[in-house]
């Protein structure tokens, strides 16, 4: 009689009681070896740089140690928002990202709708493969192509001369005219990524019930009506979620295209925050101001991204119920 409860209690002690954190950790040490080195890597390369944000509140001198730096408070931030150049850079960043956002969405959805209507599978494949191509080349190569296309003896000027819009000798130096830069950037971005951006929409379109199209056809809906009343509403949830997510990247107008296509003549329109950071920081050695600009960008992006993600999640749930 006495032995049985003792026996059960020992069983409980060994198997029923959850093992402590450290016991488990030791038992799972091979998993620890497989992940903890990368946690250390993550800490050094992703978390330690955050410490560098303190530079924005100092008059940073690279030669001095951390404790010897002079603290400057919010001086650099105040300077930024009075600096005409920074405000211009901010305007350029916002303008280009909005242009990119709208153009990117409209063209990608448009191309996806057209591709979805192609019944000849081989032709569809060929168009898709070609349209992905520019996404895979670097911006350096893309910028080189853009530059030669827009040069005085490039394709666009040749076309304009051929069609009689301009006379020979009056070639337009497209990249030398600041006002054109946003548009050219938008066009170049569309050229590079429109095909790639159709992937998600095309995937969403395959989820639409074919019965809907059949029913619409019987009711006499035309091709355009079917696109308008079935395909487009069918991918609406995807569009909305992607749109909200994109808002999180409002201050990420890109860096490479502007840097590679920018020059002395279009600088007032081509310079974005990242270029500002690079020029002030690395080239001129004004680390504090440049970190302040970078930090401003990251913090605003963080808020936007977090808000956008939450909103997207809530919208997603609303769709489920």
């Amino acid at each position: 009689m006495e032995k049985i409860p003792v026996g059960t209690s020992t069983i409980k002690a060994t198997a029923g009681k959850p093992a402590g954190f450290w016991t488990k950790l030791i038992r799972q040490r091979s998993l620890v070896y497989m992940s903890v080195p990368f946690l250390i890597w993550l800490f050094i390369f992703k978390y330690v740089p955050l410490w560098g944000w303190t530079i924005a509140f100092q008059d940073f001198k690279p030669a001095k140690g951390f404790l010897d730096q002079n603290w400057a408070g919010l001086k650099h931030f105040q300077f930024l928002f009075q600096d005409e150049r920074f405000l211009r850079v901010l305007r350029n960043t916002l303008a280009m990202s909005v242009i990119n956002l709208i153009l990117g969405f409209v063209t990608a959805i448009g191309l996806a709708l057209l591709l979805n209507e192609v019944r000849h599978i081989v032709y569809k494949r060929i168009v898709q493969t070609v349209s992905y191509l520019p996404h895979f080349i670097s911006w350096v190569v893309a910028a080189s192509l853009v530059q030669s296309t827009l040069s005085p003896d490039g394709t666009i000027n040749q076309l304009l001369i051929w069609s009689g819009v301009i006379d020979k000798g009056n070639e337009i130096l497209f990249l030398g005219i600041g006002e054109y830069f946003w548009g050219l950037f938008g066009a170049a971005s569309v050229w590079k990524d429109v095909g790639w951006n159709t992937i998600v929409y095309l995937a969403a379109m395959t989820m639409i019930d074919p019965a809907q199209y059949e029913a619409a056809e019987i009711d006499g809906a035309s091709r355009l009506q079917r696109i308008w009343y079935i395909t487009l509403p069918g991918i609406k949830p995807v569009i909305i979620v992607l749109l909200i997510m994109q808002i999180g990247y409002l201050l990420e107008a890109g860096f490479e295209p502007q840097y590679l296509l920018g020059n002395g003549l279009n600088i007032d329109y081509s310079e974005v925050i990242d270029i500002f950071v690079l020029k002030y920081g690395i080239a001129q050695g004004n680390f504090s101001l440049s970190v302040a600009a970078g930090m401003f960008k990251t913090v605003v992006s963080f808020i936007l991204l977090f808000g956008a993600n939450n909103l997207a999640k809530r919208m997603g749930e609303a769709r489920l119920f």
């Binding site: 799972q28 890597w41 944000w53 992905y132 040749q158 690395i282 990251t298």
Partner: protein, 312 residues
């Protein structure tokens, strides 16, 4: 009633079929034009790179070279610096891709083990970095503190693991039947053996996606070369060499006389190369490996994009 509907239907059928044809013709033509616009800059640049440099100055090269020559390519590959840069580009693409794929898969595997006590912590630590980064200057100062400036490792180590890669590999592993891992356990395999022998081979499709993304990223990178290694010509890459050429022509574009002077210099000595031809040739050399590879991996990256789009 039924009779009325049939007539109505047939009327619309006839209308829609004619409409259908017009729509198809317009659509196919439009897409064809779009393909032309996408491809034309490449074809044009290829034609320029295969055309005699002095002849190119006369202008008017479109789809085909006028005076065919391989001199531009010969010139480029005679340059020791370009050959070396090509080698570094290949090295960083190969080494970077192998390391990234292996390390990402390993971390993703630990993140997929439900019983792992650090699973939530590891996942959160990685996911959080999607929302912020230290920025250019702090990263630069860190690399300088770590004495990594002027080393090859600066191309590989700082960007070793991307969160996007982790997400798509983990969601692939989560889709594998749990019984596979259990049976490996019963056979006495440890975590590392299970990972190497069971998980890695099963993950080939998703790892191919990650490998493609990484290889493209590595091959296309120039900014880290510019930022960290611009004064170490031994570590220059193809993309960075092209970027320097681009920068020069950018600078000369602001005054057209400079370009003309270049052109004249080319004219006086026959068979010499010009900046325009060099740039076209470099552009082709820097993009050809990617153009050759990506169509064959299309299946993989489209799938990867969709998984990432859904889960991310």
């Amino acid at each position: 009633m039924p009779a009325a509907t049939t007539t109505k239907k047939s009327i619309f059928r006839r209308n829609s079929s004619r409409e259908d044809k017009i729509f198809d013709i317009c659509n196919y033509t439009f897409l064809f034009v779009l393909m032309l616009i996408t491809l034309y800059p490449f074809v044009n640049t290829l034609a320029v790179s295969l055309n005699q440099a002095t002849d190119t100055i006369r202008g008017g090269i479109t789809l085909m070279p006028r005076v065919f020559t391989l001199d531009n390519y010969a010139y480029i590959f005679r340059e020791a610096s370009i050959m070396h840069a090509t080698m570094i580009s290949v090295l960083r693409s190969v080494i970077g891709t192998l390391l990234t794929v292996f390390c990402s898969a390993m971390v993703a595997y630990t993140m997929s083990r439900q019983e792992y006590v650090l699973r939530k912590f590891v996942t959160l630590a990685f996911i959080l970095t999607m929302y912020f980064n230290g920025g250019l200057i702090p990263n630069y100062l860190l690399i300088r503190e770590l004495d990594m400036i002027g080393t090859f490792s600066v191309y590989i180590v700082p960007g070793l693991i991307g969160v996007f890669n982790l997400i798509i590999i983990r969601s692939f592993i989560d889709g594998l039947p749990e019984s596979i891992i259990e049976s490996a356990r019963i056979d006495g395999a440890g975590e590392f053996t299970t990972f190497m022998r069971i998980i890695l081979p099963l993950c080939v499709p998703v790892l191919a996606t990650v490998a493609l993304f990484t290889a493209v990223y590595q091959w296309n990178s120039w900014f880290d070369v510019f930022l960290y290694n611009s004064s170490y010509p031994k570590l220059s890459t193809l993309q960075y060499e092209l970027q320097k050429i681009l920068q020069n022509s950018n600078a000369s574009m602001t005054s057209r006389t400079a370009t003309d002077a270049f052109a004249n210099a080319g004219n006086t000595a026959a068979n010499t190369v010009t900046p325009v031809s060099i740039r076209a040739t470099m552009t082709i050399v820097a993009s050809v490996p990617i153009i050759m590879v990506y169509p064959f991996l299309q299946k993989y990256f489209v799938k990867g994009m969709m998984v990432g789009g859904v889960k991310g």
